[in-house]
């Protein structure tokens, strides 16, 4: 599968990344080179092989639903780019 410039822009936006118009050709070419390597997967006969999501076939462990973490909201907010009144601040979304 080959990506054109429009598709590259779409993917970049889905990933919330900017690709400048001046970089688009090179980005598309690099991604297409990588994808041509990945497309080799299509030639492999995987038969009825079961998809392997976990190397040890472990299932998700469950735990009792109780508070286990101490409140570190102050420490977490101290390292945030912008906070106010106990909230993480971002540019206004709704006027």
């Amino acid at each position: 599968m080959s990506l054109d410039n429009k598709k590259v822009k779409e993917i970049a936006y889905l990933a919330r990344l900017n690709v400048q118009d001046s970089e688009i050709e090179q980005t598309a070419s690099e991604l297409n080179n990588i994808l041509s390597l990945m497309d080799k997967l299509g030639d492999i006969d995987t038969g009825d092989s079961e998809p392997m999501a976990h190397p040890l076939k472990m299932s998700q462990r469950l735990r009792e639903d109780k508070v286990s973490e101490e409140d570190m909201s102050k420490e977490f907010q101290e390292i945030a780019p912008k906070t106010g009144k106990g909230h993480f601040l971002v540019p206004t979304v709704i006027e």
Binding site: N18, L31, I34, L37, L41, I44, S49, H54, P81, P91
Partner: protein, 480 residues
């Protein structure tokens, strides 16, 4: 003191030949004299205060085996109050508010953290050239790469500026730099060491491990790092043996498998020669050598470079400029904040992998890429299962070549292809090691030893017996 192994330093501290403070200061001096760029942060004050505390513990007989031993921590492990950057501009200002479980465990031993080591950004790379903080130089030849992504850790141990360094291995990031720098590196079975507080790249593959000069040192350190952690849902609830106990067994009758696919086209002849000489050494120790086949190992590259970018695109979505890390100047709206913070904060290779992963997971492509890659992953894992019915361990090269020139590999695909011998081990969740096996054109070459799940004890002994009979692990580069 820097030529001593950890096992020897433990004796030295116990016999009062030197104090932890003297040992620590000695290493800090060596770090400050080094020009390799192996460290992103050097934590002199923390190190000296931890060393002082360790000396008190030793004096009052409250010490454990590793008390007072200095180490370097890969900058992917969260360290409370200390910058944890993962080699990225995105986290250049990130002071971790908590400790990773591995950090806690090493602190619990009263080990001494010298600093945080340089690495490829978010562990994505095989040369350490993808670090925001600049590349690390290989101590054997400063014009060469140290390998990656744990390049700073490998260079630090090889250059004797730290006796042990932590590493992480998602597709070879402990074994390949260990090979290129001539040290011992162990990637344990997936789930052996907690991933809590270890900044995630590809969650179904990431695994931490020790990087040391000798297998004996790796065993001592693995004892401290391994174990179940309720904070990591993928951590295995399995008891941890004393890995030093198995280091005495002889290898008479050990069955070693050589995968035909690992000795084919693309393997440098100098590397092949060193690997085959090491195999001969094992034969002299009574091991039986036989060929095995891992027919799907050639598919490891496309499978890995789908699985890992898909998981990274999901994991790295957390870096949004809102709660921590880099935020762009004057965002005009929320979307602009996301777009510019991520575009300015991530480096080129990270952005490439996020985009590949985003594409492979996007509507209509999931079956063709991620699901297909997981099926191939199963085939790769089954190859190993079949092989381990016939042999105890598998041996081969770690990397197709010795260390290459800094700046010489510009094309991402060429860089990916060099991971051919290490990726399968991560896809199958197996333990693997690299040990110093010789030199090719004055550059170190590692021997890879792969074992079945949970066979770390066997691997460490197989490595240790080799190191009893050879001295490749004792070779050290000139100070640089």
């Amino acid at each position: 003191m820097h030529n001593l192994t950890i096992a020897e330093q433990i004796k030295g501290l116990k016999n009062k030949d030197f104090s932890s403070q003297e040992l620590t200061q000695h290493y800090l001096n060596r770090i400050h004299d080094s020009k390799l760029n192996a460290f992103i942060s050097v934590t002199d004050d923390i190190a000296l205060s931890q060393a002082k505390e360790a000396d008190k513990k030793i004096a009052s007989n409250e010490s454990s085996i590793l008390t007072g031993i200095p180490y370097a921590h890969k900058d992917i492990f969260c360290t409370q109050g200390v910058k944890t950057s993962a080699g990225s501009k995105m986290l250049d200002s990130f002071i971790s508010p908590y400790d990773a479980t591995v950090t806690k465990k090493l602190n619990h031993e009263n080990m001494v953290m010298l600093g945080k080591t340089n690495m490829d950004e978010f562990a994505m790379g095989s040369s350490n050239e993808n670090s925001y903080f600049g590349p690390v130089q290989n101590p054997w030849d400063v014009s060469k790469v140290p390998g990656g992504s744990s390049g700073g850790s490998a260079a630090a141990v090889a250059a004797r500026i730290s006796p042990f360094a932590s590493g992480t291995d998602t597709g070879g990031s402990i074994r390949q730099p260990a090979s290129l720098c001539g040290i011992t590196g162990l990637k344990p079975t997936y789930g052996r060491i907690s991933r809590y507080g270890m900044i995630a790249y590809a969650s179904s593959l990431d695994q931490a491990g020790p990087m040391t000069r000798t297998a004996e040192d790796a065993a001592i350190v693995l004892n401290a790092m391994a174990g179940f952690d309720p904070n990591d849902s993928t951590s295995a609830n399995k008891s941890v043996p004393d890995y030093t106990q198995g280091l005495t067994n002889n290898l008479d009758g050990l069955k070693i498998g050589l995968p035909t696919e690992y000795f084919s086209e693309g393997l440098d002849s100098g590397v092949e020669k060193v690997v085959m000489q090491s195999i001969k050494e094992y034969e002299l120790m009574g091991a039986k050598i036989q060929e095995v086949s891992l027919p799907n190992s050639v598919h490891a590259i496309p499978a890995y470079y789908i699985v890992a970018p898909c998981e990274c695109s999901s994991n790295l979505s957390r870096f949004d400029g809102v709660r921590y890390g880099y935020r762009c100047e004057d965002p005009k709206d929320l979307n602009d904040l996301y777009l510019r913070s991520r575009s300015e904060g991530f480096g080129e290779e990270v952005k490439r992998r996020i985009m590949i992963g985003t594409y492979a997971l996007s509507a209509g492509y999931y079956d063709a890429y991620y699901l297909k890659a997981q099926k191939v992953r199963q085939l790769i894992s089954e190859d190993f299962k079949k092989a381990f019915k016939k042999v105890d361990v598998i041996m081969g090269p770690v990397s197709p070549t010795a260390a290459f020139d800094l700046g010489s590999v510009k094309d991402p695909v060429s860089m990916y292809l060099a991971d051919i011998y290490t990726l399968s081990v991560n896809l199958a969740g197996l333990p693997g090691m690299s040990i110093p096996a010789g030199f090719s054109n004055q550059l170190p070459v590692g021997l890879q030893i792969i074992g079945n799940h949970w066979s770390e004890e066997l691997l460490l002994n197989v490595a240790h017996q080799f190191q009893i009979r050879t001295d490749w692990h004792n070779h050290s580069p000139a100070d640089c």
